[in-house]
Subunit: 224 residues, 2 copies
DNA sequence: TTTTAATAAAGAAATATTTCCTTATTAAAA
DNA sequence: TTTTAATAAGGAAATATTTCTTTATTAAAA
């Protein structure tokens, strides 16, 4: 199993990128189990992804398995972490210290995945009194001042839909490169800004549609 | 603009299904503004989706626009709500009354989108003392008893990764049709169970990859 | 040692999805 | 009324993604 720098300018499909963290999580659950290796069909059975898909996905990041054996679990975990940049720390601000905001601040996986939330903001001053993992909390009015002190890459939006665009504009104006939007509203932004919507409503739409169609879609598009 | 029953057995692409709630949210923000109609290019500009894509998406649900005018906003909102089943209520249980669980319980959009969380469960009895929107809270041991009283379609998992599979098994054993998994772990389930992962880690992977590549992908795959 | 069966690799094919191109429509301007 | 320009529709093309097929490899069994 290799995993060196990808010299060929292979285009990695976006769905592959989205599946990689899934493989990573799954491999963590089977690490320290009985076997050192796991095969593509072995992973496929659990994740309901087509085995060939898994082999292809790994091949995009230059991972080769061994015939009759599969992939060495710990080594693969390491390669995935390198590829996904889990060791490259990106700083983030979060705006919105409601339940969702707090849940995200407390979401420990981020520590292992190379994102650190270094400050939180809210409109409501009362929210700033809370202690959440000792995170620095500020009124939204201090956003500019704080970001000038420590530039960040990622701005997380965890405010109600009606305030989301305003917060996005503030982030963009102050040099945030990527906006992670947890609100229900799609955001308007210039093309050079990276926008990632974790759209709860899209997920619910999928669930309701599948329930209605009663076609649970084996393999295809199952996981993401 | 029509929107009647889709008699042709058109296959609607899954990405289209995922985009529909986005159009819906966006249309809500422009409703009651100056114009009665909105054109595909008008939507495209804001959502960074290719205008032709928008026209195609609408055509899948039999919505036709008017040349030089576009789509009638309020009518389109109504059609989207009908298609997405926002008026068909699906009952749900949520397991895990942590911050994420509470955030989901308080997420008001669900009321308009046809899902009602009717009970919450946790392993920790202390959590059951909280009052969150007057939701009935139970110890996880009472899951079977409660679901026998009121069968539900959707089970929401908002517990830490290490407990997720165990909860999923419990849900499956008791007849839950669809599992909405907010945990970091992918779940193992029979093929007839609908699994929807709202994978925070996949989203982060996309953000980090785009930041690294520094290619913010205009239009393509931008929104979802 | 030889055979067998499980598996990965690689390319081809199939499928799915998006984008383009042409045509038709129509509101607004001339 | 006629012309113009903006727009949607519909089919074709291009692109992206997944799945299949064949071949090669190799661990384990005979």
């Amino acid at each position: 199993m290799t995993g060196e720098k990808n010299n060929k300018t292979t285009i990695i499909p976006i769905p592959t990128i989205r599946r990689l963290p899934l493989y990573h999580s799954f491999l963590l659950t089977v690490r320290d189990k009985e076997n050192i290796h796991i095969s593509a069909p072995g992973i496929a059975k659990e994740l309901h992804i087509h085995p060939t898909q898994i082999i292809k996905d790994f091949s995009y990041i230059n991972v080769k398995g061994r015939t009759k054996v599969g992939y060495e679990i710990k080594g693969l975990i390491k390669i995935l972490e390198d590829f996904l940049g889990y060791h490259i720390l990106r700083k983030a601000f979060i705006v919105g210290i409601g339940n969702l905001g707090i849940a995200l601040i407390k979401y420990h996986e981020f520590n292992n995945e190379g994102m650190e939330i270094i400050a939180g903001f809210d409109i409501d001053s009362d929210k700033l009194e809370t202690n959440i993992n000792n995170l620095e909390l500020f009124h939204i009015n201090n956003f500019k001042e704080r970001i000038n002190k420590t530039p960040i890459d990622i701005g997380i939006i965890a405010v109600p839909a009606c305030q989301a665009q305003e917060i996005a504009d503030l982030m963009i104006k102050n040099g945030v490169k990527a906006i992670w939007n947890f609100s229900a509203t799609p955001l308007s932004a210039p093309d050079n800004i990276i926008i990632e919507n974790t759209s709860i409503d899209s997920s619910l739409a999928m669930i309701k549609w599948k329930l209605h169609e009663n076609k649970p879609l084996i393999y295809k598009n199952r996981v993401l």
